[in-house]
């Protein structure tokens, strides 16, 4: 073993093949230690040890690296820096700040660049926790104080992992994140605690208890909130062929869902999509707080042309940051777009290691890794006794749109909400293209009480009735395919018509329309209620007049335009429309007599 003047292990590169480098003379190095590879100090991670050889996956392009160059260990595992300054940042897969990289190296990301993830110079106003007195016992997770990071986010400073003891000193004041805010005595040991802490990314963070999820994540998307809701702390899979709108759904959820912090992981996807988030979010306002959406958002961008090993790490980086904020008692939503690219990165590294391939070349441990990731979500009681949650929404990009492949299947076994994106719906521009017949949410039972208490039982009754109509419509459509619509009795033609109204006027929702892009639960309820009111009157009327006449009613027009009506005007609009429909029906029946 060779050790340099700083006491770190130095190895020698023996082989380079794509993102995998093998170095010898590495005895003493630990698994998953971060290393600096070659003369240009590329960042890598040890993923296998074999006698004195270390197999390293490198997070940057290895072109130009030669055997004989050195490898230096940093002796700590791949970690993220956590502290004030995280919010509104955009990082690459290993938490390097892309905005600062641009300032330093220009528009292209140069290799071996090393910049702190957080601003070390900025001074923050730290307010100490008044409840903590000198000599109080503190342990991991306890809140020492906070920094008002943005208008909406109070950034709590917590005792870092592995630290416990008697509080010796705790002071408020303007400080950088590396200055000591508290000192703790553990026996004779004196530990200084700055605001910044580090956490290893590959290990799930600690918490006291997992809790049952019982509250929906309101997304403002009608098909989701009304039919296939996701709980705060729940997991959802969004598989779909290309062009079915996975990314738009992820963006919509990042924009409008009522989580307090959004972590958006662009994993192996398009650069322009990240640009879109970066341009749009600062201008959009959170419907609840009225503040720019960027003030609650953190982006992890490892686009498809950025190094593949860092893509593998990006998912862990994102979820670790989420856990940190969850420990403060926040509700976090993590969007992972796309987990298929993450799995492919695993496959690529696995192939370079010449591991025995499992299904479709993916490593045999793929399902385990998927499960580990989604299990880091959930609602918990944190170590400091608060309640926080992480909701994970993972996009899946199955080849050819066929979800029998390993990543989709591995994901569906763990996640409890399934939004099935349908290529046929997408090609007829029905968005969101979530198929109402094949999607499901297993949170119905957990959330029922919340809906009963906060919206009312009519909401659930309406939803169930609408779903029945949609299912009946699908059956009837099969018959129509064989015999034509004319052969159906009038009562069934009404079902077809109402089914169409639910699809086109309720399920269809434009992400690009200022009003339609977000619907409150109340508006969702009233919209569906209008359609079902029409349905009730039509069912009655069809006993006396023909379906044809009912379908030509002018009052239908109001319903087909209701998406355009704003939240503010909607209650009045709904009342008027209801009256108009009633009048139209009674006129129709009168004319018939």
């Amino acid at each position: 073993m060779k050790i340099n003047h700083r006491g770190v292990i130095l190895g020698i590169i023996e082989k380079v093949s794509g993102p995998i480098v093998i170095a010898n003379k590495m005895l003493g190095a630990k698994m998953y230690d971060v290393v600096k590879v070659g003369d240009s100090s590329l960042i890598g991670e040890i993923i296998q040890l074999n006698e004195d050889k270390a197999i390293i996956q490198v997070y940057e392009d290895t072109a130009g690296i030669r055997p004989g160059e050195k490898v230096e260990t940093t002796e700590h595992p791949l970690s993220v820096n956590l502290g004030p300054g995280l919010i509104a940042n955009i990082y690459d897969g290993i938490q390097r700040p892309l905005e600062k990289i641009e300032k330093e190296s220009g528009v292209y990301i140069s290799k071996g660049i090393s910049i702190n993830s957080l601003d070390l110079k900025k001074k923050w106003d730290f307010i100490a926790n008044k409840d903590l007195k000198r000599n109080a016992e503190v342990k991991e997770g306890d809140v020492l104080g906070y920094v008002q990071e943005t208008d909406i986010i109070k950034h709590y400073i917590m005792v870092p992992p592995g630290v416990k003891g008697k509080l010796d000193e705790l002071k408020s004041g303007k400080m950088t994140i590396t200055q000591t805010v508290a000192t703790v005595k553990d026996g004779s040991k004196k530990i200084e605690i700055p605001m910044m802490q580090m956490r290893a990314v590959r290990k799930a963070g600690k918490y006291k208890n997992k809790l049952m999820v019982d509250e929906p994540l309101i997304t403002g998307q009608r098909v989701i909130d009304t039919f296939f809701p996701i709980a705060k702390g729940g997991t959802a899979a969004v598989p779909g062929a290309f062009g079915t709108g996975k990314t738009v759904i992820q963006h919509q959820l990042a924009k409008w869902s009522d989580a307090q912090i959004i972590i958006y992981i662009g994993c192996g996807e398009r650069g322009n999509e990240m640009t879109e988030v970066l341009t749009e979010f600062p201008e959009l306002k959170d419907p609840k707080t009225g503040k720019p959406l960027m003030e609650r958002t953190i982006l992890i961008a490892n686009t498809s042309n950025m190094p593949v090993a860092a893509r593998e790490a990006s998912i862990y980086t994102g979820i670790t940051i989420a856990e940190y904020f969850r420990d403060m008692g926040y509700d976090i939503a993590v969007m992972a777009d796309s987990t298929s690219r993450w799995a492919e990165a695993m496959r690529e590294v696995s192939a370079r290691l010449e591991e025995m391939p499992g299904e479709e070349g993916y490593p045999a441990y793929l399902p385990k890794r998927l499960a580990e990731f989604y299990e880091r979500g959930g609602k918990v009681e944190t170590l400091n006794g608060k309640q926080g949650s992480i909701t994970i929404i993972g996009a899946v990009s199955p080849p050819g749109g066929d979800i029998s492949e390993p990543v989709s299947q591995g994901t569906l076994r763990i996640t409890k909400t399934f939004w099935a994106l349908d290529a046929a719906l997408a090609s007829s521009r029905h968005f969101p293209s979530i198929n109402w017949l094949s999607s499901y949410s297993l949170y119905d039972g957990n959330l029922k009480n919340w809906y009963l208490k906060n919206i009312g039982k009519e909401f659930i009754e309406n939803r169930d009735q609408a779903m029945k109509i949609l299912q009946r419509e699908a059956e009837l459509k099969n018959i129509v395919q064989l015999v034509g619509a004319d052969a159906l009795p009038d009562s069934e033609r009404i079902i077809l018509e109402v089914g169409r109204m639910i699809r086109e006027n309720f399920l269809f929702q434009s992400a690009y329309d200022n009003i339609d892009t977000f619907s409150s639960l109340k508006k969702q309820y009233m919209m569906l209620d209008l359609i079902l009111h029409f349905n009730m009157l039509a069912e009655k009327a069809v006993k006396e007049v023909s379906a044809e006449k009912i379908m030509q009613l002018d009052a239908k027009k109001e319903i087909s335009r209701m998406r355009e009506t704003s939240e503010k005007d909607f209650t009045a609009f709904a009342e008027n429309t209801k009256k108009r429909i009633e009048k139209a029906f009674s006129d129709l029946l009168k004319a018939n007599q």
């Binding site: 082989k15 380079v16 093949s17 290895t62 072109a63 130009g64 030669r66 055997p67 004989g68 955009i90 892309l98 905005e99 220009g106 528009v107 292209y108 990301i109 140069s110 062929a241 290309f242 062009g243 192996g268 398009r270 650069g271 322009n272 640009t275 879109e276 970066l278 961008a301 686009t303 498809s304 042309n305 950025m306 593949v308 492919e344 496959r347 690529e348 192939a351 479709e360 070349g361 990009s397 080849p399 749109g401 066929d402 090609s427 007829s428 521009r429 029905h430 395919q481 064989l482 015999v483 034509g484 619509a485 004319d486 052969a487 006027n505 269809f508 002018d554 027009k557 087909s560 335009r561």
Partner: protein, 468 residues
């Protein structure tokens, strides 16, 4: 290391790969020069390096290489190509050597053909509408500057004619901007190459065009280089010379096949249909080189031709491409068989950046709505058609019949246009309104009422007649 040493230590040759022994410090991805017995040199690249040997991938044919009389020089550089504004108007082979028998070129600088990853923060959102003069594209899958939009085609369809027409007609609404075309023929026939170069000459675009052509009978491994060379040139012209560059990569399926050939030579674990597991990443490293850099008046727009083997859109190459690019222009054999040109089927097509490029100030306020309505109506027309083929016309409802008729008109009047017909966006949208106005107003649920009031054309409707 000394870069002038010639290694005569070839150990093995297999397909496009050679193993050079007794070299302990070749750089990964380093470029090597391989000198044959007859003094001919071929380029190669290190794809695996160890402290005992290096594996080199040869860009050319390994015919003529022998173990004892071949020498290899390591250049110490990764693949850098010389670039210059003088390349405009010239034709090169797939390795960037001029093949048009014209005077030499003074090169300005060298650039690595692999490019570097563009920082997502440095990108600007593409939002300049490009008018191609083709109704289906402009109206329904609008192309914007900085976008990568492939044409999904099949053998026997007119993708070359369509590509040529787009090149001829494409323009933005801004004037006085520098534009250039970089054309990469990847494994294309001599016929196709001649067709394109003649097109460029006839329209006068040739002076603004750099062409790189790897013919179908050129070494297939060279195809790995050609798109990279083309994109490097495009990046130089755009970001160093402030031009708006349109890059045509034709045909990416040939590229992917070379990638597969190389992968199997390397004994890699094959993925779907034998393509390597990293095909997505590899294709992304090319497609992602389209875009705009913040603060620069320059852009790279890509129009890539991808032929779908067996007309199958789920084949790995169109499939992976679709996951990377910002939409696709989908050509359909059904439309082509009906004699409709260009046979663009809107139902399989999409432009993800459309919303950034349309609307008031860019195209027209009603663009989004009319496009959505046309899409949805054409989808319903297809349903009605399927229905009528089972139950017959008589069993169709009046509305179904309206849709059926709309479908035919839409294909003939909106999709179909002449090879030399250049429609501006207003014309395109007006044709759309004319077709959609065959429906009663309440059928148009995708369009805002204010636009219906403004653009809807009152007509006598079949359903009105039924009512009366």
């Amino acid at each position: 290391m000394n870069f002038n040493i010639e290694y005569n230590t070839l150990k093995s040759i297999a397909g496009p790969l050679i193993v050079v022994d007794k070299i302990s410090n070749a750089a990964y991805n380093e470029i090597v020069r391989i000198r044959l017995q007859n003094n001919e040199t071929i380029l190669g690249q290190v794809i695996e390096t160890t402290n005992k040997f290096a594996i080199v991938q040869v860009f050319g044919q390994t015919t003529g290489i022998d173990i004892s009389n071949t020498s290899v020089t390591f250049t110490g550089e990764t693949f850098n190509m010389p670039v210059s504004e003088d390349m405009l108007g010239r034709v090169f082979n797939g390795q960037a050597q001029p093949i048009d028998y014209k005077a030499g070129i003074t090169y300005e600088t060298k650039q690595d053909i692999n490019g570097l990853a563009l920082n997502p923060v440095s990108r600007a959102m593409p939002n300049d509408f490009i008018q191609t003069g083709i109704s289906t594209i402009d109206g329904l899958m609008t192309l914007v500057r900085g976008q990568k939009l492939p044409i999904f085609s099949s053998s026997g369809l007119q993708h070359n004619q369509l590509t040529a027409q787009i090149i001829r007609q494409a323009k933005t609404r801004k004037s006085n901007e520098n534009f250039a075309i970089v054309f990469a023929g990847i494994g294309i026939t001599h016929d196709d190459a001649i067709y394109f170069i003649n097109e460029f000459k006839e329209t006068g675009a040739i002076n603004r065009t750099v062409s790189f052509i790897n013919f179908a009978d050129d070494p297939s491994i060279e195809r790995i280089l050609t798109p990279r060379i083309a994109l490097t040139t495009a990046e130089f012209l755009a970001f160093e010379k402030n031009m708006h560059v349109l890059v045509i990569l034709n045909d990416m399926t040939n590229y992917a096949e070379s990638l597969r050939e190389l992968s199997s030579a390397k004994n890699e674990v094959p993925g779907r249909r034998g393509y390597p597991g990293y095909t997505y990443t590899d294709l992304a490293s090319l497609f992602e080189r389209a875009g705009i850099i913040r603060g620069k008046n320059a852009s790279i727009t890509q129009l890539d031709v991808v032929t779908m083997p067996g007309d199958d859109i789920t084949h790995p190459i169109p499939d992976l491409t679709g996951y990377i690019t910002e939409g696709q222009i989908f050509l359909s054999r059904d439309l082509a068989n009906k004699g409709i040109y260009p046979p663009v089927n809107p139902l399989g097509s999409l432009s993800r950046l459309m919303n950034q490029g349309i609307g008031s100030g860019k195209t027209r306020e009603d663009h989004r709505g009319i496009a959505d309505q046309l899409y949805s109506a054409y989808a319903k027309a297809q349903e009605a058609k399927n229905l009528s083929s089972i139950v017959g016309m008589d069993a169709l409802s009046d509305m179904d019949r309206l849709y059926l008729k709309f479908g035919e008109n839409f294909e003939n009047r909106f999709i179909g246009q002449r090879h030399d017909e250049n429609r501006d966006i207003e014309q395109t949208l007006d044709i759309g309104w004319d077709l959609i106005s065959e429906f009663p107003e309440q059928e148009l649920s995708r369009i805002k009422s204010e636009f219906i009031q403004k653009y809807y054309k009152q007509k006598k409707h079949a359903t009105d007649a039924a009512e009366a």
